[in-house]
Assembly symmetry: C2
Homo-oligomer: 277 residues x 2
């Protein structure tokens, strides 16, 4: 005998993507009672394990009985644990088989160019991942708002930071943002080009180059906003700057990957270009 009251009130439909899932998780978490909250926290921190774990494993990780975890799945809109797991098993890494195998092959002959390539690829990947983990969203937002209001954007980055500065200049140009690259050609400095209303992006990593610090000092003296792209919050350019974007770049040997720095540079440029309309 089917009774209407047997049907749960609002059978929320299940999340259809991992992103969806995270969204629902964060909105729901604060409203949940103790045990379910534990589930939410543990799952949020170990989303990756869902695809390869059993109810019992996850439950014990979250320090709850399996039944609590089941309830949790249902509250999220899934029919049950298996239903939730399906989402993650399908989304699961559509392409690391070849990648990992290939990387192992490349590394095979130590000292060969291929082995080097594998190392640089890994350094780049690691840098990008750690940028994702540590990026300071509010610093980034501040930086963009300074740049969006600036008249001319000055860019300086020398030696190993020069490629990044060059790329920034290129992207600003493409987005019709007035920008000036201080490239030190002919040892000319253009400090007097810094005008009221302008802003400066200074890119520098240890060992920090004097020219960059000098220009940043000038800018600060003129009360122009300085956006620092650097390695640590404690870098010598920090006290000169209004927004600090710390980039956790991974070295391989003496050579610094630039992947993360470039990703940040592109973001700055494109976000600024967009904000200026």
């Amino acid at each position: 005998m089917i009774n209407l009251s047997d049907i749960p009130p609002i059978p929320t439909s299940a999340p259809i993507s991992v992103q969806d899932f995270h969204l629902r998780l964060t909105t729901l978490a604060p409203t949940l009672p103790r045990r379910l909250r534990q589930c939410a926290d543990y799952i949020a921190a170990n989303t990756d394990r869902i695809a390869v774990s059993t109810v019992a494993e996850l439950a014990s990780g979250a320090n709850v009985p399996p039944s609590a975890l089941m309830r949790f799945c249902q509250i999220l809109g899934f029919a049950g644990f298996s239903d939730m797991q399906r989402l993650f098993r399908e989304a699961y890494s559509p392409n690391w088989p070849n990648y990992t195998t290939r990387l192992a092959n490349l590394k095979g002959s130590t000292g060969s160019p291929s082995a080097l390539l594998a190392e640089f690829i890994e350094a780049g990947r690691a840098s990008l991942e750690s940028l994702a983990k540590t990026a300071d969203e509010s610093a980034l937002t501040h930086a963009v708002s300074f740049l969006a209001r600036a008249e001319t954007i000055h860019i300086i980055g020398l030696r190993r930071s020069f490629p990044v500065a060059g790329y920034l200049a290129y992207v600003f140009e493409k987005m019709s943002v007035p920008a000036m690259l201080h490239d030190n050609v002919g040892k000319l400095d253009h400090r007097f080009a810094l005008r009221p209303g302008d802003a400066l992006i200074a890119i520098t990593f240890a060992p920090y180059s004097d020219e960059t610090l000098t220009l940043a000092t000038d800018a600060k003296a003129k009360s122009l906003p300085v956006i620092a792209v650097t390695d640590h919050l404690t870098s010598p350019i920090a006290p000169l700057s209004n927004a600090i974007l710390a980039i956790p770049e991974v070295d391989f040997g003496a050579f610094r990957s630039l992947s993360a720095t470039l990703a940040m540079a592109m973001t700055l440029a494109v976000a600024t270009g967009t904000a200026r309309g």
Copy 2:
């Protein structure tokens, strides 16, 4: 009643790492009968799915009955399928727990600088992965051997390739390799700097810049080796070059990630520097 003959003759121990597993798989595969061979082939091509699949799923993928797949697991030295699966479930997830979660968060507010950053990070990662998969090892080795023998190494890369060219010049400098960056400053071209015994690295992506193609043509006319870093094997610079390094770079919007190109550039520079001693 326990009988010695019940114990299988040589209970090969199970592989203890994924690498181990691949090794055993490739050595064993050629010796296996038809059905087991199918298992080996399918598993080799889909190693990544082991962690998240059932016997039935894998078996049907390999077009064999489940029992064949079980036998296959045992031949590899595992107690059974579950035993094999355990290896992959544990090996899995080096560090993407926070990473993926974080990326999902960054992407949260569409249009924000953080969302952009997440996209650029992903584009960079995808580029690096696909470089790992497609890199042509022999082209790389050839390129390095040309560069190792060259007197002076000329480098050209303009517009969006300029950062890469600049970085190459920087690394060569650090490694005391004689190199000249053709930067087109003052619209001066330095084609007469190309001397017998030299080599050229030309970096260009669609839309290919004329200056780069012209310099490559000059070099070819003088029979100097040209190393092309470009987007496709069919790029217009291909016919002018002695080694082609095709870089599968992923775009986000109109903006090209440079991660893979830089990884390749660093490899070229460091391998060359090392080879020159």
